[in-house]
């Protein structure tokens, strides 16, 4: 069976006098509807890998195929939720999402449909109350919700999330994780998420891709998470399978592949 998203033998080195190899031989196939997390220590090139899938970076070797077509430039079929939300501060919440909707559906949807679709996606992330607010008037968690709405509104084939909750406090992060889990359940998006939070990876993912340390990082291990969906963070606290998965990731990160600075 042909994979939905096929990352094959991707390598990345940055030029200059002394070339530094960031990624070597990264191969990963992802099926439609999969939720895949990529976890690893800082500097293991996980953001580089995401940017290659997004098309924001060109890989030096290997390639990425999405539905059999090669990825060579960025596009709305691979929408990105950026770590720092990257909302445009001069536009309102509504206009930030509408900009994406207009660009992606400008030819296929009428004006009224685009308005409707913008509101619909903001409703999905519970941001209908702040349509006319500007990004600097809402909290960090809300900004990230709008960032997610903007990405979802593009109806991407793959949703790419670069440490989407990294800058949030623990309680807000938990709320957003629940929202994302719920949306994934309802919409069946294919998601690749970068994280360095073990609990988050286990809670949200179908598979956890663990990266070895850089330079020349690659995939060390892929752990399937077979927990039943929908998942509930409270019930999981007493679930042995959850703890086994968690322990496996922790063992990988802190026994076999400790951060370079920890030596």
């Amino acid at each position: 069976m042909q994979a939905y998203l096929d990352i094959s033998h991707v390598g990345m080195s940055f030029g200059g006098k002394r070339t530094s190899v960031v990624l070597t031989d990264v191969s990963l196939t992802i099926q439609r509807g999969d939720y895949v997390s990529i976890i690893g220590h800082s500097g293991c090139g996980k953001s580089t890998l995401l940017n290659i899938v997004a098309g924001l970076l060109q890989c030096s070797t290997g390639g990425v195929l999405l539905e059999g077509k090669e990825v060579d430039s960025p596009g709305p079929d691979r929408a990105v939720v950026f770590q720092n939300h990257s909302l445009l501060p001069w536009l309102t919440v509504y206009d930030n999402v509408r900009l994406a909707v207009d660009k992606v559906f400008g030819r296929t949807k009428t004006r009224a449909e685009r308005d409707q679709w913008t509101r619909h996606n903001l409703a999905l992330v519970n941001m209908s109350h702040a349509l006319d607010k500007r990004p600097n008037e809402i909290s960090g968690g809300m900004k990230q919700r709008v960032g997610i709405a903007r990405a979802l509104a593009m109806e991407p084939k793959v949703l790419l999330m670069d440490e989407p909750f990294g800058a949030l406090d623990a309680l807000t992060r938990a709320q957003l994780q629940d929202t994302v889990m719920d949306l994934h359940q309802r919409l069946g998006n294919t998601v690749i998420m970068i994280t360095h939070d073990v609990d988050e990876a286990v809670l949200l993912s179908d598979r956890i891709v663990m990266m070895t340390n850089g330079p020349a990082a690659t995939i060390g291990e892929v752990l399937p998470v077979t927990l039943e969906r929908p998942r509930d963070r409270l019930e999981l606290a007493n679930n042995p399978a959850y703890h086994r998965a968690r322990a496996a990731v922790l063992a990988f990160l802190y026994e076999r592949h400790r951060a370079p600075s920890a030596h």
């Binding site: 596009g75 709305p76 990257s86 445009l88 501060p89 001069w90 660009k103 600097n136």
Partner: protein
């Protein structure tokens, strides 16, 4: 504040709350207004005392009021030729500024955008601009008189060439300072060149552009007063020079105060326009 809430509060405990609040408001106003009023009074006082003394070469404020009373009270008179009220001189100067400054805003923003886009262009042109921007306004005047052979275009050119640099340099810095995140958003959305220019570049660089425009308007006002002293005709600069030639020192002082006030207003006007347009654009 109306007095209704205070009356209503007379018989209630709110009265004791309303009074300090009113007092607080009055105190706020006083704290803002008193310092400048006291400063101005002190300056006038010292000036009066110093210039009152026998043999003083400059008139004290009381004499200025006395001799230039007509100039102060009637800025709109027009007896033909150069014998006009200050209003007409200021309008003449302002219209020259309007031409030159508009030109420098358009050229400065346009060229700034182009240069900000390209690292190579920035490297090549930045040293040239950095040198040219330090040339004093009046140093351009002989050259522009030679080129245009007429006084008005020359004055406008001097304003343009003086005020274009801060607009241009700030715009290009603003373009280069657009965060990579916004560029990435534009790339993911596949915005084309024009969409990127209108939706990302201009709003992102707007605070920088307005900083440049604000510095530019100050410089063009500096330049026009100096340039008009040399080119003559109607205009506040020539008015001052003419007053000096006629030994009307009080008139010079009145004109200087007007020049300062107009410059201040121009600066605030651009700042206000910037705030209105760039509202919400700051992070």
């Amino acid at each position: 504040m109306t007095d209704t809430p205070i009356k209503a509060g007379l018989s209630s405990p709110a009265f004791s709350l309303a009074l300090p609040r009113l007092g607080g408001f009055a105190r706020d106003v006083a704290l803002r207004l008193l310092p400048p009023v006291i400063t101005i009074a002190l300056i006038l006082g010292v000036w009066e005392v110093v210039c009152r003394q026998a043999g003083s070469s400059l008139p004290p404020p009381s004499t200025v009021l006395d001799t230039s009373w007509e100039l102060i009270t009637d800025p709109f008179y027009d007896r033909g030729g150069l014998d006009k009220g200050l209003f007409w001189h200021l309008i003449a100067s302002l219209s020259r500024v309007a031409y030159g400054y508009t030109l420098s805003a358009v050229v400065g923003i346009g060229v700034g955008v182009l240069i900000g886009q390209s690292t190579l262009a920035t490297r090549g042109l930045d040293p040239v601009f950095q040198v040219l921007r330090t040339v004093p306004p009046l140093a351009w005047l002989p050259l522009s008189l030679a080129a245009f052979r007429a006084s008005d275009p020359s004055a406008i050119f001097v304003i343009f060439i003086t005020s274009v640099w801060p607009v241009l340099i700030n715009t290009s810095v603003g373009i280069r300072a657009i965060p990579q995140d916004y560029r990435n958003v534009a790339r993911v959305l596949r915005l084309n060149g024009i969409e990127y220019f209108i939706k990302i570049m201009v709003p992102a660089a707007l605070p920088y552009i307005f900083t440049g425009l604000r510095i530019g308007v100050g410089l063009s006002w500096l330049a026009i007063v100096a340039a008009e002293m040399l080119i003559g005709g109607v205009g506040i600069g020539f008015f001052i020079w003419d007053a000096w030639n006629s030994s009307l020192i009080s008139d010079i002082i009145v004109a200087l105060i007007y020049v300062g006030l107009v410059g201040f207003c121009l600066d605030r006007l651009i700042a206000l326009a910037g705030r209105l347009i760039a509202r919400g654009a700051t992070l």
